[in-house]
């Protein structure tokens, strides 16, 4: 066993030390694998950033109530009477004044202009009651002030303000033929709410002709477990044809479709590219075996086994691929990590998010790189192991 390990180490060292003789071919493989990993990790970090931005927005002790069957806020309607029934429902937390901690909300879309492309995009305009901001984690006004109830004032999420034109503090914007003043900028722990514009609910209901209904009800629960009590209450009351879920569950569901789509685009593209780089790796390793034929044959003549030639070649391929993988991961980190983008969310409005590269994603990228190295080195390694010694020595 010791001898086999020494043989493998010796052959591997010989292979690696001879890499400068095949510098350009080896470099081409490293770059090809690096590009594969970069593309994969760009997609995965995009999907991850999107999913985290949305999924992290949800809390377990906040209930979201939608019309039964509505897949998102945009196509939900909750009538005023249903709002009152929910407010009186079990498991709803109450404030010091005894009032239920709920917020009926409207979710509309308005047009905005993207700074980066100058193109139009749909932005979410949320009407919410006075308790609405308090039902979200970490909401703080970072500039200006909160809108005054009963006025055409809006506050703008920090991320949305950065990505779209015309939402600077003090600016006036026009939605639905009505002028609105930007009186505040708010942050919300980097959650999806930072991609929204908030206004007073009754004003929106009036101007957008939605009086008598909202689209969602948010409610603080007495505990995360109270969601089951509230759901059972809703299910058992024929007047409440509503879906009740925790905010965390709601956002997880919202995030999964888009992030799944991004991943489903990313993986096939990366695998297609990986097949291309696999051809490159095969070519490099076959060339490596051919260039080292005399060395391999000499070692075999001395008494080295075919197994050490096999492992040594495979290790060379894996190391080239791993170097490519590390370079690809580093490039993705430098170029894309924290890169801000926006895309269409489940409610047909823009969600601003950052690409997020995690160790787990880097691990996936490196695994793909090693797979290219493994399959790219396997057959050349078999050739190295099975090469007739005489053929290697005398050509």
């Amino acid at each position: 066993m010791r001898s086999i390990i020494l043989q493998i180490l010796a052959v591997t060292a010989i292979n690696l030390k001879s890499l400068p003789q095949r510098l350009w071919l080896s470099l081409a493989t490293v770059i090809a694998v690096g590009l594969v990993v970069t593309v994969l990790l760009a997609f995965l970090s995009m999907a991850n950033g999107f999913r985290r931005t949305i999924a992290d927005s949800g809390a377990e002790d906040i209930a979201v109530v939608l019309r039964s069957g509505a897949v998102s806020e945009i196509n939900s309607v909750v009538l005023r009477d249903q709002v009152r029934l929910i407010e009186d429902g079990p498991g709803i937390a109450r404030g010091p004044d005894g009032k239920p901690q709920t917020s009926g909300e409207l979710y509309l879309t308005v047009n905005g202009i993207k700074r980066s492309t100058g193109t139009k995009a749909s932005l979410p305009l949320r009407g919410l009651g006075p308790l609405g901001p308090g039902l979200r984690r970490g909401v703080v006004i970072t500039a200006g002030r909160m809108f005054n109830p009963g006025t055409n004032e809006i506050i703008v999420g920090r991320a949305l303000g950065k990505e779209f034109e015309g939402f600077e503090l003090g600016q006036t914007v026009t939605f639905n033929s009505t002028r609105w003043s930007v009186v505040g900028i708010f942050a919300a722990d980097g959650s999806v709410f930072e991609s929204e514009i908030w206004a007073d609910l009754p004003v929106l209901q009036s101007l957008f002709k939605r009086a008598g209904s909202v689209q969602t009800v948010r409610a603080r629960l007495t505990s995360p477990a109270a969601i089951e009590t509230l759901r059972a209450y809703s299910d058992n009351d024929p007047r409440l044809k509503l879906d009740v879920m925790s905010e965390a569950a709601y956002f997880a569901q919202q995030a999964s479709n888009t992030s799944d789509l991004i991943q489903k685009l990313g993986w096939p593209l990366a695998i297609a590219m990986a097949l291309g780089s696999l051809a490159g790796a095969l070519n490099t390793m076959y060339s490596s075996v051919a260039a080292r034929a005399t060395e391999i044959a000499t070692l075999r003549a001395i008494g080295f086994g075919g197994f050490s030639a096999f492992v040594g070649t495979l290790v060379e391929s894996l190391i080239l691929a791993a170097i490519g993988g590390v370079i690809g991961a580093a490039a993705t980190y430098l170029v894309f990590d924290g890169f801000t983008a926006s895309t269409m969310g489940a409610s047909f409005s823009q969600v601003v998010f950052n690409f997020q590269l995690t160790p787990r994603l880097i691990g996936q990228g490196l695994l793909l790189a090693l797979a290219v190295g493994l399959f790219g080195g396997l057959f050349p390694a078999l050739r190295a192991a099975r090469m007739p010694i005489v053929a290697g020595l005398y050509g």
Binding site: S3, K17, S18, A301, G303, F304, Y394
Partner: protein, 236 residues
């Protein structure tokens, strides 16, 4: 021992060896019922025209090529009965190869090249280093331990190759045109070393060569032509 007629204890005993190559639809017979016995401690030069089978014979004796039929016994082992992995292990402990173009690893130092066969043994690092120094000392290159092949002359490289061949103390050295790439005086130095290894250390040496002057260093010379030894001549 395969040859009952031969009273000596042979290092090499070949009986009815057949070897053919197929090239396309053509079959070329290299050996047809070849017989040969070489005693231990012999130094034999194998000569003959190109294509006569000299190198093929050397490859068969070293267990890096297979015969089609017949028996090859080298150092008491029937090579035609060993598997590939058994042949590898056998070569590691019984055979030292010396090639025309030295076949050193260019990226390894002289010492690292010479150490390669010892990696197949159970020797520890210290013992390996001692043996490498001894082997390089035998060939007169004790001061070139850390030199790379490209930093040495052809003759020095061949001496490193000889050190590599003898470092694990094999009984049989197989030399394929060991001076074919060297000038006369350098060739004489290398051949003198081989002579010393045969005379003083008792190594059995089979050397393929085209060079009659090189063959003079052997104890006897065998002339191979069309798959048969046509002449046996005692040199010394």
């Amino acid at each position: 021992m395969l040859s009952p007629a031969d009273p000596i204890d042979p290092m090499i005993d070949i009986v009815d060896l057949c070897k053919r190559f197929t090239k396309g639809k053509e079959t070329i017979t290299i050996f047809d019922a070849l017989n040969l016995a070489i005693p231990r401690g012999d130094f034999v030069a194998v000569m003959g025209p190109s294509g006569s089978g000299k190198t093929t014979l050397l490859n068969l004796l070293g267990g890096i090529d297979r015969s089609d039929s017949g028996a090859i016994e080298v150092a008491g082992e029937r090579l035609d009965r060993l598997s590939e992995s058994e042949l590898s292990r056998w070569r590691a402990s019984h055979i030292g190869f010396i090639f025309q173009f030295y076949n050193l690893m260019p990226m390894l130092t002289a010492a690292q090249n010479v150490e390669l066969p010892l990696l197949l043994t159970r020797l520890g690092r210290k013992e390996r280093r001692e043996r490498v120094e001894t082997a390089l000392g035998v060939v007169g290159l004790a001061d070139r331990v850390k030199h790379y092949p490209k930093e040495m002359s052809g003759g020095q490289q061949q001496r490193v190759a000889i050190a590599r061949a003898i470092v694990s103390d094999p009984a049989l050295l197989l030399c394929d045109e060991p001076t074919g790439d060297l000038d006369r005086s350098t060739a004489d130095e290398v051949l003198s070393i081989l002579q010393v290894l045969n005379r003083d250390l008792g190594k059995t040496i089979v050397m393929v060569t085209h060079d009659p002057a090189a063959a003079q260093y052997a104890k006897r010379s065998l002339h191979l032509d069309k798959g048969h030894f046509i002449e046996k001549e005692l040199v010394a």
